[in-house]
């Protein structure tokens, strides 16, 4: 979706405000939300791309107004209700719950014991598949002019632009279809390099470049002459 999250190239957002000696978390609610996201996510109720879409799919002013981890809170609450894991009424009524203890006899998917192993191994999105790559380093490509209601990783600023394939990364899960169709549709992933002038016009730097990952469903060969 062409939401506020896809903000690359917008003007008017103001200065960047780095904070000196910034702590990792600014309050206990951030700590809990950070950890909860992993603990809940490990239940497998949704995939990470559905979750990203849940965070971005909301009114512009709400997105801009929330502190960062409140976006996570919104995404999790939305998916819990949307997937039928909890009702909106349960979530509202939970405000009155006293602090809870872990339910006895239930093995949760994320335990303290397995956290170190998960951090060590991660979850790669590299996939095995037979497909041959359709592009090679050096090929000129044209990004598609797509408008998807759901989630897409092709940002607005990079649509219908000429770029050059500069890296080939092998086969990865496709985040767009994973979010929108719960189908990973693994395909070759590349880095496409765009000149600053292709993206931002003739006043941009003559030498600067931007690198973006593109999946095969995001691109076509550049038309001859471009």
């Amino acid at each position: 979706m062409d939401g506020i999250h896809d903000c690359g190239g917008m003007d008017g957002h103001g200065p960047v405000l780095p904070e000196k000696n910034e702590p990792v978390f600014h309050g206990d609610w951030e700590r809990r939300m950070f950890g909860l996201n992993w603990a809940i996510g490990m239940n497998g109720f949704w995939n990470q791309d559905e979750y990203r879409h849940a965070m971005e799919n909301r009114p512009v002013l709400d997105y801009l107004g929330d502190p960062y981890y409140a976006k996570w809170l919104y995404g999790v609450e939305t998916l819990l209700v949307g997937k039928g894991i909890a009702t909106a009424a349960e979530i509202a009524e939970a405000r009155a719950l006293p602090p809870q203890k872990k339910v006895g006899g239930v093995e949760t998917p994320l335990t303290a014991e397995i956290v170190p192993q998960i951090i060590k191994d991660g979850f790669t999105f590299r996939r095995e598949a037979d497909a041959k790559p359709a592009y090679a380093v050096g090929d000129k490509i044209l990004t598609r002019n797509i408008f998807i209601k759901g989630h897409t990783r092709l940002p607005r600023y990079a649509r219908e632009k000429i770029g050059v394939i500069t890296q080939h990364h092998g086969i990865f899960s496709f985040n767009d279809s994973a979010a929108n169709e719960q189908d990973e549709r693994p395909q070759h992933l590349y880095t496409a390099t765009f000149t600053a002038r292709e993206l931002w016009g003739p006043e941009a730097s003559a030498i600067d470049k931007l690198n973006l990952n593109v999946w095969e469903e995001h691109i076509d060969p550049a038309p001859s002459g471009r």
Partner: protein, 209 residues
């Protein structure tokens, strides 16, 4: 709420609406009650990212690359294998690409769509990295942002390369080794590597006499 960190000349508040604090507590209690969450697991993962994983890991990698040309060659050609040599963890950095700054190239990282960042090398991202001012502007006017917002002017003849992390690859900038550091050990070099130098919004620290 304790507020023991200081700010630049800007004032901005991280105090959330009380409603958000209440909602997070409610969410945790509901998830525990339903048997989906063990609060000890939440404690454990928070502990790792608050206390153990941070930019000191990336700094160690950078210092090794500065000190050892063969390691640097491996790091920029096959980062995953090179990071495995140093036992770097992989969560949110499962597939890393290291991009090297030179006299003619300055690299800078962003995730315009959300907040993707190499957690395994740099820890969790700072708020500014996740903010729309940075995400919106660094792709379009990187030289202006670097100069005005980060006091890092880039010379006209140096190419700026922006890397927008829109897939599951994560990037790290390998900054240039500062001049005058020939005699330093890896441990001493590590101390010069700043977080922002590995994002591309800063330089390594200068030697203090």
């Amino acid at each position: 709420m304790p507020h023991d960190h200081d700010h630049d000349d800007h004032s901005h508040s991280h105090a959330p609406p009380e409603d958000i604090v209440v909602r997070v507590k409610a969410l945790e209690n509901l998830m525990i009650k339903k048997g989906f969450v063990d609060p000890a697991a939440v404690d454990e993962i928070v502990e790792h990212y608050e206390r153990r994983i941070g930019p000191h890991i990336g700094a160690k990698v950078v210092a090794r690359a500065w000190a050892n040309p063969a390691y640097k060659a491996r790091l920029v050609s096959d980062a995953n294998a090179a990071l495995a040599e140093l036992d770097v963890s992989r969560l949110q950095g499962e597939d890393i690409v290291v991009v090297e700054n030179t006299d003619k190239i300055h690299n800078v990282l962003v995730c315009t769509l959300c907040s993707c960042y190499p957690w395994n090398l740099l820890g969790l991202p700072p708020v500014w990295y996740k903010s729309t001012p940075y995400r919106s502007r660094i792709v379009k006017e990187p030289r202006v942002v670097l100069k005005e917002d980060f006091d890092l002017p880039v010379a006209d003849d140096v190419e700026v390369r922006v890397w927008d992390a829109n897939a599951e690859l994560r990037y790290m900038v390998l900054p240039q080794r500062p001049e005058g550091t020939d005699g330093l050990s890896e441990e001493e070099l590590e101390k010069l590597v700043t977080r922002d130098s590995m994002i591309g919004t800063g330089q390594p620290a200068r030697l203090t006499k």
